[in-house]
Symmetry: D2
Subunit: 133 residues, 4 copies
Amino acid sequence: MYDRIKQSFEKQGIMKTLNAQLAEVEKGQVKITCEFSEALTQHNGFFHAGVITTIVDSACGYSALTTMPENANVLTVEFKVNFMKPANTDKLIAIGKVLQAGRTLTICEGYVYDSNEEKLIAKMTATMIAVQQ
Amino acid sequence: MYDRIKQSFEKQGIMKTLNAQLAEVEKGQVKITCEFSEALTQHNGFFHAGVITTIVDSACGYSALTTMPENANVLTVEFKVNFMKPANTDKLIAIGKVLQAGRTLTICEGYVYDSNEEKLIAKMTATMIAVQQ
Amino acid sequence: MYDRIKQSFEKQGIMKTLNAQLAEVEKGQVKITCEFSEALTQHNGFFHAGVITTIVDSACGYSALTTMPENANVLTVEFKVNFMKPANTDKLIAIGKVLQAGRTLTICEGYVYDSNEEKLIAKMTATMIAVQQ
Amino acid sequence: MYDRIKQSFEKQGIMKTLNAQLAEVEKGQVKITCEFSEALTQHNGFFHAGVITTIVDSACGYSALTTMPENANVLTVEFKVNFMKPANTDKLIAIGKVLQAGRTLTICEGYVYDSNEEKLIAKMTATMIAVQQ
């Protein structure tokens, strides 16, 4: 399962650009991390909300993909993110989890923590769709 | 007003990283564009949902900022994005518009179009908060 | 088209309970109204956010249904609502509009106004799914 | 704490209309239940998404209120709900929980279960605001 997700992860050019790492893959759950860099900031010098969203969207999408058939492709239908704390940390840890896997739609929850995995920086709820490749 | 937004925009490291451009600023509306590059892709080779979100979040945040006092800073409380079409275009055009400006909270709507400003690729609704700098 | 929507509307027991009215039906747009009553209030005596949501969810769902095949049934996948003003009006006017109609998923936007259709009280974005009856 | 929430709950006319019950109140968590009736249905004869939303919105709002000062009032800024299963049960059990309590904004998560508290029917994320009464 890791290889399948890793292969797709490496096709995501933005993951290289953000220097994001695929940290863990298990059925229904994927972790992606991203170290701080000035190249990823908003106007106060913290991680931009869009960067936080990018890695947790991929984490949610791949968590959904682990529950889909081998030949499926996954796309994001929609998501909502609440930003709870300023992202002033040296590393983001994003965890995507499947809340409900369906044949067509899969609902995921995403959590973004600081580098100690203690402070919840953002929370996502996402709807993913399985499409034929 | 343009100078104030431009100054903040240039502090957002991620905007340089994405090679995003501040295209237009008027009271209650801001346009940001972003040209395609393989550095910004998801696994099918189109713009990643997170990149789309990043530029429209900044467009919404800055549209809110144009309605706030000079000394205010703006932060994203939350947003929701629906992705309507695959982002296979050579340029994204993101427009953020204030739907309701309040003293504390401002509600914005964001639209992301293809390079012809014809195809609606994504739609955001965002809640922004004014904070003292 | 009106008859098809009206028939379904009359099966929604909650619409009678709220004394909601199916006001207008056109392709891709449906209007539902609801007069004020103390039976519909929250703790400050205004319309409860849930009542606002109920009628605009039905308006969005039926707007989606107008774009679907005759034998389709519509269900709500998810929605997000921003509440912009206290709902202290003697009638709610909810308008659901199709933003993008798809074979499986349809994205709608819902607007809830006061009785003069001037003050925007709430804004919904909803994802609807077509299912076989 | 129960008395404070109960007093506000009884002012919500819609709770009587839905025949909803305030079941449990603890700091940061509130449970509201609602028995099935044909007066609460959508077109397939199940609980309407709006009814589900109404009770979980109140559960979330009251969970937030338990963390606010005595003289505070709570209003819903926005929420998002995913509907995961048809609500064909004889009783809805809605649980609102505070995810993060702030001075101005409080983020809550809401869960709606079937009568056995086993099947997750819907999931809400809500932003609540404390206002002076």
